[in-house]
Each structure stands twice: as C-alpha cells, then as structure tokens.
Symmetry: C2
Subunit: 349 residues, 2 copies
C-alpha cells in the first residue's frame, strides 16, 4: 500500500479563536500533514498547543518561518497577512488567508469550495477565505443559482460574538454574569475592538459589525455584498445586507430573501435541490418545529437551512433561514477545505 503523501502546513495566528479551530479541524479531518508549524505574533509566541497528542510550541513569525512550507493558513489579522504573505509565497508556500486583506484583489481567488473550487487554478500564491457571514450564504445560494438563476439577495444577519474573537466571547459571558448579579460592567470590546464606543451585548442586539463606510453601510455589510458577487461570479447581482451582532457565542444566522430568474419555481423544488447540495443540511419541517438554530450548529461543519417559503407577492421570491458555525464553515473549516481542494486539484503536490 502506497503511503499517502504528507504536507508541511503552517498556521499563522495559531493561538487565536480561528487558529485553534484550524488545528482541531486539521486533526478531525485527518489532513495529510508531514510537518506542522505553529506561528504567532511575539506576544503569543512560546505558548504550547496540542495536535494529535503531540505538544507544539508556538513560534514568533519571521520572514524565514515559511521555508519548506507547502500550505500556510493565515488568521492573525489583515496587517499581519499583508506583512507576511509575500514572504510565504517567496518560499514557495501557498497562502490561504482568512483575513480581509486580499479578498477583493483581482489576482486573488476568493473561494468557497462548494461554489467556485475551480477558481483555485487562477491562484498566484495567495487564496482568500471569505468572510464568515458570506460563506454560509453562498453555500445556500449556489445550488439555487445553478438551477434557477439568481437576481437579488437581501440579507439580515444574526451574528455571534466569536466572530470578534475569543476576548469578545469572554466579554459576553462576563457581562451576562454581571447583569444577572446586578453588578456594573464596562464594555471594552464590542461592537468593534478599537472603535470609539463600546456597548452592552448581553440581552441586547447591536446593529454594527466592523466600522462604518461613507455610504452608511458597515464594512461587514460591504464584505457580504462585494464578496458574494465575486465568489458567485455575478457582478450584476443585486445584494444588500444588514449585519447585527447578538448575544450568541457561536453560530451565525441569516434571514435571506432571494429572487430567482425563473418564474413558477416551487418551494418543493428548492427543498429538493438543497437536500442534495454539497455542504448543506436541510432542516425544514415547520409542522414538527424543525428549523436551524445557532445553539444546535456549534461544532458542525455544515450549513443548515430551513424556513424556506415562497414570497406571497413576488412569484420569483423566496425566504430562507441559514445557520452555520462561524468558526468552522465560516473560517477554519473553509480554509482547511481550500487546502484539501488544492491537493485534490494537484495545485499543491
């Protein structure tokens, strides 16, 4: 029996919420690894992390850290990606970048394997992993687009705080405890770390994720709009988004309105499509109160879809509710999946 080839994988940002999920996902999906290099900023270097029962010491990232690396998974913030991606590429690694640094660069494929795996062939060393809220939506939309076309998407999101990192989750829980115990708690992270004001997230809903753009949309909303068009290769698609942060630790939910191109498509046809769609689990049985919820999706790599119904006025309009673990399909799992596709397509050999 021929031994399966292993690859040298590096994770930059290994100690972060997504980085740790990447390690766990590589382990769970039994990714073919010959060598694992865990990297971080100086601040987190020296930390010990486990992979398949072996302890690894996280090293401070340097330009030379990528010598011999086949695949480098980046998740340490946009500025770190901008600083180190070219070094990794120079050393022959392919970078799968989970930040927004390169997503809209026309030389960088933005990939969700269920949607546009073939775009990986256009890579020039860097591949971008889309924003978490975009990924789960396009996985749900693509099978519908393939069969019936797609004209319009209006989404309102219900996003978990882990999208803002592990410290934000801690803030949610500490703040919740304080409110329940009638104690004071000063928010310092949410809605946006480093923004001027911070608001209570416990028992609240904050209609701001990331900073505001000139046009009144947040950067998160513009990411959903622009990334959806790029991934689906539909520059003319009408997309709009309202992104809202909830007191949920993990699991993004989305209320999606969409219009297909064809007339007289039925809910049954949409459900049948999604039953067989890759990466999708249909949970849609209202009579038995079956629908997706964030509390149920945690730790699962699929995109869960339910509440599919036809609009009562627009014959080409449908509504659906899309839920997924934002740290897995929204980040770590999609990155590892891209790495798997790179091997499958023979791009990484």
């Amino acid at each position: 029996m021929q031994q399966e080839k292993g690859f040298h994988v590096a994770i930059l940002g290994a100690t972060g919420a997504v980085g740790q999920q990447m390690i766990k996902t590589l382990e769970e999906k039994d990714f073919p690894i010959s060598k694992l290099t865990l990297l971080s900023s100086a601040r987190s270097a020296g930390k010990k992390l486990q992979f398949k029962g072996v302890e690894y010491t996280v090293q401070e990232v340097q330009p030379e850290s990528f010598a011999g690396v086949d695949i480098a998974l980046f998740s340490a913030g946009g500025s770190v990606s901008k600083e180190f991606a070219s070094h990794a590429v120079k050393h022959g690694a392919i970078v799968v970048d989970n930040t927004s640094a390169f997503r809209m660069d026309k030389n960088v494929p933005l990939v969700v394997p269920e949607v546009n795996e073939q775009d990986l062939h256009k890579q020039q060393g860097i591949i971008a992993n889309p924003n978490c809220s975009t990924i789960q939506m396009v996985v749900a939309l693509e099978p519908i687009r393939q069969k019936f076309g797609l004209n319009k998407v209006l989404v309102s999101t219900y996003q978990a705080v882990s999208g803002s990192g592990a410290a934000a989750v801690e803030e949610l829980y500490d703040q919740t405890k304080a409110i329940i115990n009638n104690e004071a708690y000063k928010p310092t992270i949410l809605p946006v770390k480093g923004d001027k004001k911070h608001y209570q997230i416990a028992f609240n809903a904050i209609p701001q994720i990331d900073k505001f753009e000139e046009n009144g949309f947040t950067f998160e909303e513009m990411k959903m709009i622009n990334e959806t068009k790029k991934i689906m290769n539909l520059p003319e698609l009408h997309v709009a988004a309202t992104c809202v942060r909830l007191p949920v630790a993990t699991g993004h939910s989305e209320s999606v309105y969409l219009e297909v191109n064809e007339e007289s498509v039925s809910v049954q046809e949409i459900k049948a499509l999604l039953t067989d769609a890759p990466g999708v689990v249909l949970q849609d049985d209202p009579s038995n109160q079956i629908y997706p919820m964030p509390a149920d999706c945690v730790g699962k790599s699929d995109v869960f879809i339910g509440r599919i119904r036809k609009d009562l006025d627009e014959s080409r309009g449908f509504h659906m509710w899309v839920v997924s673990d934002n740290l897995l399909k929204g980040a770590a799992w999609n990155s590892v999946q891209i790495a798997e596709s790179l091997i499958k397509l023979g791009i990484v050999k």
Copy 2:
C-alpha cells in the same frame, strides 16, 4: 378653572406583563380617570395592585363587570376577549383590545394613532390594538408613505421574549443563569407556550414566534403582513416578514427594507421626514456610532429609527433599523394612546 372630566377605565388582564404596563402608563401619562376597575381571570383575582399610591384589588371578570365603564383595555388573551368584549360593549363601554381576536374583523378598526387615528370614527364598540412588531414598523413607514408612497416592505425581526409574557422573561433569565453555572435547564415556554417543542433561548436565536400556518409563515409573520396592509390602508402593498426571537428581555428590533414609489429620493430627505414625525426619534449618526438598540429603548414610548441608507442597486430602495419597547408602544402605550384619541375625537364623552 374647569375641572377635567374623568372616565371610568377597566383593565382586563391587569396582572399580566402588558396589564401592569397599562396601569403604569395610565399613571405616567396622567390619563383622566374617575374610576379604575382592575379585572382578571379567577386564577389571578384577589391580587393587590397600586395606582397613584392607592391599592386596588383585582376582581374576577364577569359579564356584569363592565357596568358604567367608559373604556375597557383588554389584554388577557384572545379567548377571554372573545368571551367578554360583547358584554363590555353591551354595557356601553368601548373596548380597546390588545389581542389578535378582532384585528382582521372588517368591522373593527385596527389603530396606531400616528397612522390611522381617523379610523376610530368607524368603531362599533371594539377597537383592536395591533401586534407589537407591526406597530413600531408602521409608525416608521407612515411618514415615508405620506411623502413618497410605499410599494414594498421586507422585514426581519429581532424580538424580545417579553412579547411571550412575564413567564418567558423568567425562563430567559433562569436559563441564562443555569447555562452560566453549567447546570441543566429544561425549557418549557419558548418559542410558543403550549406548542409541542420548547427550545433554549439563552445565547440562541429561534426563528419561530407563534405557531406555523399552512404556507410556512408563522402566525406572527402573517400578523405583520396583514395588519400592516390594514392599518396603512394599502391592500396591495407587498409585505413579507421573518420573525425571530432573541435572548433580549424587552425591546423589539427590526431590519426593514422598503421601496418608495418615487425615484431619486435621498437618505437626507427620509431623515428630515423622520426627524419631525410623530412618535419617532431619529438616532442615526454612524460616524459617532449612534443607532437604536433594544437595551436603550426600555421604558420609553417612542419608536427609534437609525441606520437609514439607500440600497446600492435599487434607486427606490432603502434600509433602516427600527427599535421600540414592545410592552409600551408595542402594547400598553398604544392602547392608552387609542383611549386618549377616543376622548380627543369626542367618541368617548
């Protein structure tokens, strides 16, 4: 100085979450009351409640309870309204009903004073108070409709648990405590009291409010759709809703997409309109992170609007974020406001 006339007001369902808010609102708004009668089911009768420093004993409702009553505020569930409304009307009272029992009855005006106060003249003894999530939305939409027309409304809601009553709020807090302390907690109320299954609401989002209809929409969603058309007197309006319950005690939020009839309306024009609109407070300054949030609206009777922005593809399309205290403008305050309008218009003398 002429003494202001007082009215005999009865509250049916006085011990419930909305009933108690009604008592508080009558007190705060200094409603002209000559006599107050507090009524409930047999189960809650005998309880003592305060109004303007005086203790009242809640009486069990009987057909004869309404003798001499001018205005009866009902909020004890649809079946109780159906049983007692005709008795109240027979005794000459005008019923303001906060349940869904009569809302779609063509002989019953469904009223939000900022929108269709004049419909009160059509009353035949019963006036319906709309669903909480509908009220705050139509207050936001009406000024826009008046100036620019209105063609389409797509709403996704972020609703607080107090809409399901005081026991649901207790469930949210007890469950939150249990989860934080790593203890087991069996949900018994949410999403819908009496439905087959109950789900965790703490740190979760549940896309079900009220029971499901045949068409896949929930009753709550159909209420928003049908009531909006009736209140705004726009039977042809395209309305769709997705209603979601959040781990928030009080304060409903709504992500609203709307299309006006006129072309080339600007965000500034919409903001200017809403600045002067009755019952509305504009909180819309993204550069200073000013937008409405449920945690800020509790105890206030206004509808708060922010995040107004023009759609990037549809020139007649706008997005906005609408927040209000679901127990006040969504229920108690709108009912008391209707009572005030009945006096102002000379319908109750």
